[in-house]
Symmetry: C2
Subunit: 202 residues, 2 copies
Amino acid sequence: MNESGKLIVVSGPSGAGKSTVISRVMENDKSVVFSVSATTRAPRAGEHEGVDYFFIDKKHFESMIDNGELLEHTQYVDNYYGTPKLPVLENLSKGFSVLFDIEVQGAMQIKKQYPEAILIFVIPSDFSEIEKRLRKRGTDSEEKIQQRIKTAKIEYLMALNYDYIVINDDPDLAAFEIKAIITAEKCKTVNRKKYLTEVSLS
Amino acid sequence: MNESGKLIVVSGPSGAGKSTVISRVMENDKSVVFSVSATTRAPRAGEHEGVDYFFIDKKHFESMIDNGELLEHTQYVDNYYGTPKLPVLENLSKGFSVLFDIEVQGAMQIKKQYPEAILIFVIPSDFSEIEKRLRKRGTDSEEKIQQRIKTAKIEYLMALNYDYIVINDDPDLAAFEIKAIITAEKCKTVNRKKYLTEVSLS
């Protein structure tokens, strides 16, 4: 009997080292597919269509909103970002789990439609590490850094809406925790009832 | 910051291969301690006090019941079986998780007192495997085998009261699933709130 795929939503404040952790999760697990977002912003150097994003124009994006073709979407500065529903449903139907790297609002939109989605929030064990990592980039002004720290704090408060909190002091350990969560979720009784149905007290 | 220990209750019908799986879980994980039950039955050849059981007399066992010194207890044929509370609480306070190998009734008693206890039911993916394993022992009469199969079926129906169902077709894979469950439970937001409290929006 096949196990069915899961929706795995991973969020975390800027500086939590989320993308490294996600790539470690994906590296060795062929049962998990990464969800590629759609955006109306222009591709940056090195970004590839269908890998980093689906790059589409504003009119197309708005028609996808109107037709309910997005699992979630948000607007940031002048651009739209969102998750096309079709590839997600296709992968689920093939038994794959789908992993989303999206921010808090998008995560809540997915949970609302799919209460069985697994919401994981990634943070370092010590908040001061966030500040350290944001400063390390060395490209932002102090004002911008302070703004990012404040945003990170607000995002921290949203973590209470997540099912799991994964600690990223070491990306390998954090990836290990996420993989354990995916395995454990598949073992939940509600997901394995089928193994009980064959037994009847005749 | 230390993670706190968990109560992990493992049950399963006779023939599910539970004890092998449990020993695989314990082998490499020093953070999990096995809960030794108390019993009033006489030790069998090769059984050791404090390893297989705490062997105590009926009067002592009944005084433990009266004094609330047992987490759970049950009577089987003419003997009592139960879990002394003190070693469990001591191990938890040291940050260890405690794993219990107990039957369904005892599991329900523990869940009632400790709703945060993790209940895991171990079964093979195919019920006919249970029958095969019960017959393999070759020591029981057909009548006794039929009785054991019926008991196993009744136990299967109790699995719906468990949090997780672990499939034991391969003891290593089953042990892997139980370890993943323990890791995932530690990551639950309710168990990691402490990492969020340090952040304030001042």
